[in-house]
Symmetry: C2
Subunit: 181 residues, 2 copies
């Protein structure tokens, strides 16, 4: 993806002050989603990360990860596996809890989501602290998925989520983001 294309994407992202709570500047990606050329460009960029590797399943994280994950899965012709907050998936699940700033959160994946050895790309809109993504990767590993990468539209570099995911990856797969702030 060219620097010009990345600039086009970056220019469309809207900073929203104090969302979801005071002191946070939220990166609003809806102007990218709503623009046909920019939405396509964002999906192009995520597909480029795959670089021709075989991907059996995209694991997409609830809810904005579904947007990017589904479009990438349809483009490359693979399946989509949702990882959701506890209580949202209807069938038997594996779950994992992880620490938040205050308290903890739990995410789930269906027990039959992956077959051992299937190649998996994790897709989400945002790499922030990395907590949810690391939990999702751990769920994939427990089902024997062969993770080939974690791909994000945006990375908030100052939150150091990359370190968390690279520890999870242990050099076995790359962590990539189209735009880093």
């Amino acid at each position: 993806m060219s620097p010009t294309d990345l600039d086009r994407l970056s220019s469309a992202i809207r900073d929203v002050q104090d969302f979801p709570k005071e002191g946070i500047v939220f990166k609003d990606i809806t102007p990218v989603l709503g623009d046909p050329a920019l939405f396509r460009l964002a999906i192009d960029g995520l597909v480029e990360f795959i670089d021709g590797q075989r991907v059996d399943k995209i694991v997409g994280i609830d809810a904005r990860g579904f947007i990017f994950g589904a479009a990438v899965a349809d483009r490359i012709g693979c399946g989509l596996v949702p990882v959701r907050k506890k209580g949202k998936l209807p069938w038997k699940t594996h779950e994992i809890s992880y620490a938040l700033e205050y308290g903890e959160a739990t995410v789930e994946i269906h027990e039959d989501a992956l077959i051992e050895g299937e190649t998996v790309l994790l897709v989400d809109d945002l790499l922030a602290t990395g907590g949810t993504s690391a939990a999702a990767l751990e769920l994939v590993k427990r089902q024997g998925g062969d993770i080939i990468g974690a791909a994000f539209f945006i990375e908030l570099g100052f939150l150091d989520g990359r370190k968390v995911l690279e520890a999870e990856a242990a050099g076995e797969f790359p962590v990539k983001a189209l735009l880093t702030y």
Copy 2:
């Protein structure tokens, strides 16, 4: 879409008893999402509904509607507008509340989501009672969107949501579902 293709999709859907609460039989679509051929077929079916009409924006409903909406938007090269439960969208919103069996729910759309006269296709995974979809259509109308249809992967016919949406449509656009139970 051929009857054989529809049978393939329907056969993959899993009935889950008592989800999300006792007495409800939930249609679990994750086996469709996870199968590359079936996921592609489902998106093919939704794209067929458009039948070559111009669509400027897909309006997708949080969260499974994002999956189908994003893939359809990427296929046909249009923008995606998320409609979400109150408090999830970061910027200025229009909102609408609607009655549930007990209490009410509120959904939102960004104020700048649509330009007057843009053509819109509503996409969601499930047409149940039609409450959320009717609210989303109302939000689109208030922004001057020109609705060309409402497209669902599954319709639960016995819940009569179609009547609610057809009242909202007043003959001006079709309500379509790939699979009806």
